[in-house]
Symmetry: C2
Amino acid sequence: MRPSTLSIGDFSRATHLSVKALRYYHESGLLEPAEIDQHSGYRRYEVEQIPVAHIIRRFRDLDMPVEAVRAVLHAADPTERNELIGAHLRRLEDEYGRAQRAIASLRDLLEHPSTDLPVEHRSIPTTQVASVTADVRRADIGVWHQGALAELYATVAAQGLATTGLAGGQFGDGLFSGDGDTATMFLPVGAGFEPIGRLELSALPAVDLAVVAHVGEEDGIDRAYGALAAYVARHALALAGPIREFYPVNRHQTQDATYWRTEIGWPILATGQED
Amino acid sequence: MRPSTLSIGDFSRATHLSVKALRYYHESGLLEPAEIDQHSGYRRYEVEQIPVAHIIRRFRDLDMPVEAVRAVLHAADPTERNELIGAHLRRLEDEYGRAQRAIASLRDLLEHPSTDLPVEHRSIPTTQVASVTADVRRADIGVWHQGALAELYATVAAQGLATTGLAGGQFGDGLFSGDGDTATMFLPVGAGFEPIGRLELSALPAVDLAVVAHVGEEDGIDRAYGALAAYVARHALALAGPIREFYPVNRHQTQDATYWRTEIGWPILATGQED
DNA sequence: ACTGGACTCTCCCCTGGGGGGAGACAGCAC
DNA sequence: GTGCTGTCTCCCCCCAGGGGAGAGTCCAGT
């Protein structure tokens, strides 16, 4: 008699999926054997499952998570399926674009390891701000940053208020314990701001900052950080609080990133003396 | 007095690397603290280490392995460094290209889940071949496949011999125990072949095959596998050995992939009867 | 019917790059 | 002295399986 089902080894050879992977897909429910021998526990697959297995392998070759593969296979209609696939492809494209820009920045950093940029001292008084504070993982800061600023600008404008200073952010607050990353985006406002949703009205403490400006996209910003660190080292100044950044250009109004400006403020102890 | 070193928390804020990551980099020797308090075990970093930490973060953002980052940082000269960075960028580019092609193939598979392609039965006698056999991980098969075939063509030609049949490969041999993937690439030759290096002279056993042809790049090949599986299922034929593939077109002479041809052979039990 | 070898089973530990948390010290301001 | 926060080490967790141990199964040959 000719068996109409395949052993796990035969199925592995027919699908180019390893036996280990097949067992894992069974365990995780992504691809269940057609039949399991009650006595021996041997898995048996049907030939009709081979095309499905090929599809799974293709997706896994793309590093699509097993959960996402299951979602695609269980998607109701082709539209939803294409949407899911498209989303994954967009993620890959994003990653690649980010990689290219970061590589350029890296070459720059490595080839000009110690660039001197003008450093300016700035005394910031206590400031009343509309703010958003959250624990954000470092990898997500870019996205969160954009969203929070957009919300601040929109809400302040919607309340008919004017901004009374530079938009900015503060990172690594240490207000909460633990190693979480507390980040705050803020927009200075006058009296009358009404906190809505996650937005708060708060007061930023006064600080003395050593400030370096960076122009252009965020990718090249490490050079500014490096220059600042070198300056601080030369003048033997310690870090006296969370880093504060300012964004003099409204990035939602000015789309061309070459005009963007980031001012990085490194809090220092007020000394008054500069050599 | 102003401390000239930073605690791990301050250093974390200055570099945007998490405290956990910094401890891990210390443990793995990628970035060692400038000083460790003998009594308390507290780590102390110098401001001069900040630019280095930024560089490390950039590389890790690119998913470059910690080992590779260390290699780049310890590289003797900029040339070697650029070479290492370039290699990583090329890997990213390769992945992205592969992803794009695989996505196209996937859409095809999902939109035409059951394509009928002509299936042909073929009886292959025992064949004398020059061959390369190795345990190859599935992900590496593409590369290994190219190299092995090129070596076979070159060596056979160098010995002044003619090929006496179609080049091909055999996958999932099962000659060795375990779940390893045994793959063999072969080129039929007449008498007089001298095995050199990893090349062997061997005899492939006779088989009866159900064969489907696929034209073009390897990316669309899953459709052919699917059609073959459907055919085999309809005719209740079991898999009777490792999959064999044939490549009638020499891919090193014909660069245009649209002319490439892959014949997939699914071993079946010889029955002589076809309904 | 028996034997040997190939095949498969489950179970456990391992990878990389950290994240999350427990419990114990350390340092600093009041 | 008394909190509070920061930091230490140690342990378990993630994904997608890989590697191997030890035991049970299947099948072909005798």
